[in-house]
Symmetry: C2
Subunit: 287 residues, 2 copies
């Protein structure tokens, strides 16, 4: 970053939880931040708080910067990258923060941005969204997946690793398709199951305030942004469908174990889950 | 409690997370605690740490006390109450901590303990279990359900309320059957859904360390005690089955919405869940 002469300027499109948090960290490192958000009130807040020094207009005039970050819902990112293609070609690094990587990486490849684009997915966040939820150090100790446009390791991958590590994250390079299949299980499935649980409770007329600490934790993700998650779920539909089907089977198996009255079968399920929790689960266990 | 001359002695059977935490709070208030646990090492720890001053043997000799707390899995509580019936009749209060209330309250009624028994279910805890997880102030701001043996409000209900409030909890009186149907949704369903999610991840060979903060929260309850939860799930089978069926339908609906490619339908589900999360969900919404 700036202290070692790496980046002096950044452009961040989308000042929500993730984009806003990146902006706060960069400003603290002395980076000059240009910013844009379709929500004018958000952009005004970012300027008023001294985080965005150069607010951009809808044409992105003057958006050129050492690093460009697309921090918008995954259904908007590819179109945004097309609009920024000219500027993106002259940046040291263009990266995004989306929870799916196949679409955006394919777009970057199609636009010939292999020398400057590396897709990124920080496993950090909160059920709250928006500029008001953004904060310093959101990425400290977070895992950030990096998906380059090519399997060939190019210098820009090092630039991207350096960028995310400078925010406190650890990075892991994973090809976009593999990434999307992987996070369908590790991130998207928990989100959808938590949301489904919230819907079941809503249908029974049970408010979240009736839950204990365990129930509140289990339903926390039900509060996530509908806009962001509709885009993610739609974009990664095929992989999520497989993961959801597995969760559906596990809920159904629990129900039939209870109905059968077979206490040993019920105990075996709780024991197997606890073994998994404790890290003793065999990898690729047979079903 | 002792500072206002209420209780001077307590007997706590079962020194796990809940029983151990009650013991710690009582000792801090100057109450003399007799204790028992089938796990001798646990009992020894409780004595060594100065919490249990009088360890009991398996015959419960000398177990008489102002208050007797049964802090054992729900499948063991009724039999334990039978064994303690004589002592229970002369206690000011006998209470339990189980997550289901119908069985234990029926047993107390059958034993004629109406004047001394009030069932209790503290909505507090942790996925960790055992004496090692017990701590002071576990019940501060927790909701504790109280299920008396009769709809007629007898003096012992006030004694039970006083006891639990003195540990920092708020109390709510609820008839045992209604309680069990209610917590099937508010507590047991989140536990089983979290556990089912853990099993789905285990079957895909995904370890818990691959999850982000959201996935870790959603699967936290999968680490709960198999012994305790097998007893709860079995005891409250009928009500849990209905709640599980609802969650199964919601997961299936998510999956079919994704498969249909109807983005509006997917968004509507996330929006409805968020409205529930934000407390804007209509009570008893139509399905």
């Amino acid at each position: 970053m700036s202290e070692d002469g790496f980046f002096k300027s950044a452009t961040i499109i989308g000042l929500g939880l993730i984009g806003g948090s990146i902006a706060r960290d960069l400003v603290a490192k002395g980076v000059r931040v240009r910013g844009y958000d379709t929500d004018r009130a958000r952009l005004d807040s970012a300027v008023r708080e001294g985080i965005v020094s150069d607010p951009l207009d809808v044409d992105f005039d003057g958006a050129g910067a050492d690093v460009i970050v697309l921090a918008v819902p995954v259904d908007q990112a590819p179109g945004l990258l097309r609009r920024l293609a000219r500027l993106a070609r002259s940046a040291r690094l263009v990266t995004d923060v989306g929870s799916t990587k196949t679409s955006i990486v394919a777009e970057a490849r199609a636009l010939g941005l292999d020398a400057s684009f590396v897709g990124a997915h920080p496993m950090a966040g909160d059920h709250r969204s928006g500029w008001g939820a953004s904060r310093r150090d959101l990425f400290v100790d977070a895992l950030v997946y990096l998906s380059p446009t090519s399997a060939v390791r190019t210098p820009v991958v090092e630039v991207a690793s350096h960028f995310w590590r400078s925010l406190g994250a650890t990075t892991r390079i994973m090809e976009a398709d593999e990434h999307d299949r992987h996070v369908a299980w590790t991130s998207h499935l928990p989100h959808l199951v938590s949301t489904a649980l919230g819907l079941a409770l809503a249908s029974a007329g049970i408010g979240r305030d009736a839950l204990g600490p365990g129930g509140r934790d289990t339903t926390r993700l039900a509060g996530s942004s509908p806009e962001m998650w509709t885009a993610i779920a739609t974009d990664n539909r095929a992989a999520i469908e497989e993961a959801l089907a597995s969760a559906e089977r596990e809920v159904a198996s629990f129900r039939s174990a209870l109905l059968s009255g077979d206490v040993g079968l019920v105990r075996e399920r709780f024991s197997r889950a606890q073994a998994w929790f404790d890290g003793q689960s065999p990898k690729r266990s047979s079903r």
